[in-house]
């Protein structure tokens, strides 16, 4: 029987859930047996390479591919002309995977080649002649909003205004959220601080570049193997772009070397499929690191104004934010989520957040852990910190005084359900880290963060084998340990040891549709579906036991992995274990399996509080992270090691965002640091051990109380580190990343 929120009792006594079982993919990954996107090969396979625009903004007058087609070994060349009409919903994707009339950013794909060797493909790319008319470009968000800025898309008229403007601009849409009288609230405050912040675009930095192998048969049926966060999404988008029936295309997700949101869309898969269609051969495309940085989906760069009023007792009287996010050359930046999340940690009577979605000559942004929220939290939490300092108030006390709690009205509208923000703040206040002494040039920062989390379409199939072991098929790629957590939830429900359950990621032909692995949804949604599928199988096993015993099924109960008579009145029968029932399955009615197909809803929102100590070297501007502690509500930590890993990973990516990482564009609008030598992500030697404190405030929307944990951990670090550096340096930092030159400039040293 499916879980029913509000009717089922939340389970809190666990045998497998909450334990640190061995990771099921561990051995494969350390021995090299695991197959990632680039590991797949096929007989007769060709290599695909993509030609990319060297210009930030240019009209494509003509593409001549004749010389490339004549190269020995070349089997196909495709351009935008090979992608015909498609549904409106994927028009921007079509434009992004292959430039049509204009190249819109440095690295925008303009043509692709498939050849028998990479060398032949490379030679052919050099022979493709593209006649460009170079156009004025803009890459900075504030510059892009100016009336004098080059208009990138002359069909773009700002939405969300009272009146639609007459002229096109680079502002795609205006969003507004909030409630109450903000101006009156600010007037009531003892102190109002207003600041402007800027953040640069960053990349998810997944270690595995995008890679895929596509194979189209002459019968119109195709296969794709790829590293993706959503192979059903790949099927949906690729089939729409190539005019295929969705079911004619089967997509299999490989192991994945990180995604963090950046693999929730497609870049190379439709191109590989088009090349395969044209050449009638399998085609493999693997992005280089340079291509990943130039032409996949980084975050927005932002410019944010914050105004907050506070009374001397620490009460926040009002909050006001204006957020400007450039999301690359297409509308759809994460600004609405930034605006919604900006003040979500605070229970405010008057709050307003206005967001502007801006386009610029940069790659189309993609999701990155809690998309849009880290930058908004950075700006809001920086001003709250400054207010606390000016009014000589403890930053944790102030946050507790104003914290959102159960039932309070969220800054983006609805009232919160059961939430754990206060619990994280109290855990931080009680932790030894908060009382530890600081030395010279050292500072401490505090910040909170919020993310929505959601559920979505999910399909799970659970098969009971004749030997009593379990095959569990899910359709959500495992990017953070979900096979372990989902398998453990199935084991918990069935009452069998965790190592009797093998969880796999099934292909698109083997399961119903599954939404992408995103929104911190998988442990919640696929876990919920696995629990429901296990209950479905348990129901069937109870029926088999009832048949064997000759009693009504209502007189059978399932406990500790076995069917048992529910009362003495049901007769005296020895329990039938899952293995006992499985062994007789064929004779008692055939194979036993459980299924669940749901649109999982009831995901609980998530909050975190981060504490960080840094030391600033006033001579060099170098910032060393001395100590870092994450406090986050997991609802119920199904596999604590993976939960801690999510907390630590989010903190580390936030440290990179805060201190080092940035997209640097030259005056010509081209990316200057398209490699990991110049785009500096943190490595182990840059970091202290991140201390992870799991707080558990159960989510009433899940039978075990689970909340998603994958995204919230990246929301507070930007602010926490900036507050810490500002404390250490004695000057308020307002721009990210806080690279040594920026710190020295803030200190007045250069």
């Amino acid at each position: 029987m499916n879980f029913q929120p509000g009717k089922d009792t939340l389970k809190r006594n666990f045998k497998t859930v909450g334990t640190r079982t061995p990771r099921p993919d561990g051995l494969d990954k350390i021995t090299g047996r695991a197959q990632f996107g680039a590991d797949m090969t096929a007989p007769g396979m060709l290599w695909g390479l993509i030609l990319r625009s060297p210009h930030a903004h240019a009209r494509i007058r003509k593409i001549d591919t004749s010389k490339a087609e004549a190269v020995n070994g070349v089997h196909a060349v495709v351009t935008a002309a090979d992608f015909g009409p498609c549904p409106d919903g994927v028009l921007d994707v079509r434009e992004n995977i292959m430039a049509r009339e204009k190249a819109l950013y440095d690295g925008h794909a303009v043509a692709a080649v498939a050849a028998t060797s990479r060398a032949a493909a490379k030679q052919a790319l050099k022979l493709i002649k593209v006649d460009y008319e170079v156009l004025p470009h803009v890459t900075d968000v504030d510059e892009a909003m100016k009336p004098s800025a080059p208009v990138i898309n002359n069909k773009l008229f700002t939405k969300g205004l009272d009146k639609t403007p007459r002229k096109p601009s680079n502002v795609a849409e205006r969003f507004e959220f909030g409630h109450g009288d903000v101006e009156a609230g600010l007037k009531q405050a003892d102190l109002v601080i207003e600041r402007t912040f800027k953040t640069e675009a960053t990349h998810q930095g997944y270690i595995e570049p995008h890679a895929c192998l596509a194979s189209m048969g002459s019968d119109g049926k195709g296969d794709i193997w790829c590293c993706t966060q959503g192979h059903f999404m790949v099927r949906q988008v690729c089939s729409a772009l190539l005019g295929m029936d969705a079911s004619a295309l089967r997509v299999t997700a490989s192991e994945i070397g990180g995604g963090f949101g950046g693999k929730t869309t497609v870049f190379i898969e439709p191109v590989a499929l088009a090349l395969s269609l044209k050449s009638n051969r399998p085609v493999k495309v693997v992005m280089s690191r340079s291509e990943v940085l130039r032409a996949s989906g980084p975050t927005s760069s932002t410019s944010i104004d914050i105004k907050i009023g506070m009374n001397k007792d620490g009460t926040i009287t009002a909050g006001d934010a204006t957020l400007r996010y450039q999301g690359g050359a297409f509308p759809g930046s994460a600004v609405p989520y930034g605006a919604m999340a900006a003040f979500a940690c605070y229970d405010l009577k008057a709050v307003r957040a206005v967001g502007y979605d801006v386009i610029a000559n940069r790659p189309k942004q993609a999701a990155y852990r809690a998309p849009g929220a880290p930058m908004a939290a950075y700006a809001v939490e920086s001003v709250v910190d400054e207010l606390c300092k000016e009014l000589d108030l403890d930053p944790l006390d102030v946050r507790l005084k104003n914290a959102s709690s159960d039932g309070s009205k969220a800054s983006y509208g609805p009232n919160f359900d059961v939430i754990g923000l206060r619990a994280t703040l109290e855990a931080a206040r009680a932790h030894p880290h908060y009382k530890a002494k600081l030395g010279r040039n050292q500072g401490r920062g505090v910040a909170c963060g919020f993310w929505f989390n959601f559920g979505g379409e999910t399909s799970v199939s659970l098969n009971v084998s004749a030997d009593g072991t379990i095959g569990l098929s899910v359709g959500t790629p495992d990017i953070g340990g979900s096979r372990a957590s989902i398998g453990n939830m199935a084991a918990e429900e069935l009452g069998v040891p965790h190592d009797k359950v093998r969880c796999i990621i099934a292909d698109t032909a083997s399961l119903g549709y599954n939404d992408v692995t995103d929104g911190s949804r998988v442990t919640f949604a696929s876990g919920l579906a696995a629990i429901n599928a296990a209950r479905d199988a348990i129901g069937k096993m109870c029926e088999r036991a009832a048949g064997i015993w000759g009693i009504p099924v209502e007189a059978v109960t399932w406990e500790d992995g076995a069917a048992r008579p529910s009362s003495p009145n049901a007769g005296k029968h020895e329990p039938l274990t899952l293995a006992d029932i499985a062994a007789q399955a064929g004779a008692t009615g055939g194979p036993i399996s459980g299924h669940c197909e749901i649109n999982a809803e009831g995901a609980g929102v998530s909050f975190a509080t981060h504490l960080v100590d840094t030391e600033v070297d006033p001579e060099t501007g170098y910032v060393k992270v001395l100590r870092y502690t994450v406090f986050q509500d997991a609802g119920k930590a199904v596999h604590p090691s993976y939960v801690e890993g999510q907390f630590q990973g989010g903190a580390v990516q936030g440290i990179g965002w805060a201190l080092n990482e940035e997209y640097i564009y030259g005056k010509d609008g081209t990316l200057q640091n398209a490699g990991f030598l110049d785009y500096r992500i943190p490595v182990a030697s840059d970091l202290p051990m991140i201390d992870a404190v799991i707080v558990e405030v159960p989510n009433p929307g899940h039978p075990y109380g689970v909340r998603g944990v994958g995204e919230t951990s990246i929301v507070p670090p930007l602010a926490a580190i900036s507050n810490s550096v500002s404390d250490a340096a004695g000057v308020r930092m307002t721009q990210l990343p806080m690279s040594p030159p920026r710190v020295l400039k803030a200190l007045g040293r250069i």
Binding site: G160, D162, E173, R174, F175, E176, F177, G178, Q204, F260, G261, G262, T264, A334, P336, Y337, M340, R352, V354, A367, Y368, R369, A370, P371, G407, Y412, G413, P414, N415, F416, D417, W451, F452, N453, F454, G455, G456, E457, D515, D518, G519, S520, R521, N599, E601, G602, A603, V605, G701, G710, E711
Partner: protein
């Protein structure tokens, strides 16, 4: 009556109203009525919205039943990372 609110920049689509009341038994009925009554809302709904019902977020579910006094909030369609 179900109380329905929309995010700030869509308020003009509701002819300036902060909140409207509807007879609706599901999210689908709310969205259908908003689309039928307010043309500017139709465009936003077709582009995709998320809906909060009594504090719980529904990213893409229209069959969710509503109580007579449910509070419904129409928000931009959520994505995650």
């Amino acid at each position: 009556m179900v109380k329905v609110q929309v995010w700030g920049s869509l308020k003009p689509a509701l002819e300036g109203a902060d909140e409207i009341e509807l007879e609706a038994a599901s999210i689908r009925e709310v969205l259908d009525q908003l689309s039928d009554t307010y043309p500017a809302m139709k465009q936003a709904i077709m582009r995709g919205v998320s809906v909060s019902v009594d504090g719980r977020m529904y990213a893409n579910a229209i069959m969710v039943p509503l109580k007579p006094d449910s509070e419904v909030f129409v928000l931009p369609k959520l994505v995650g990372g």
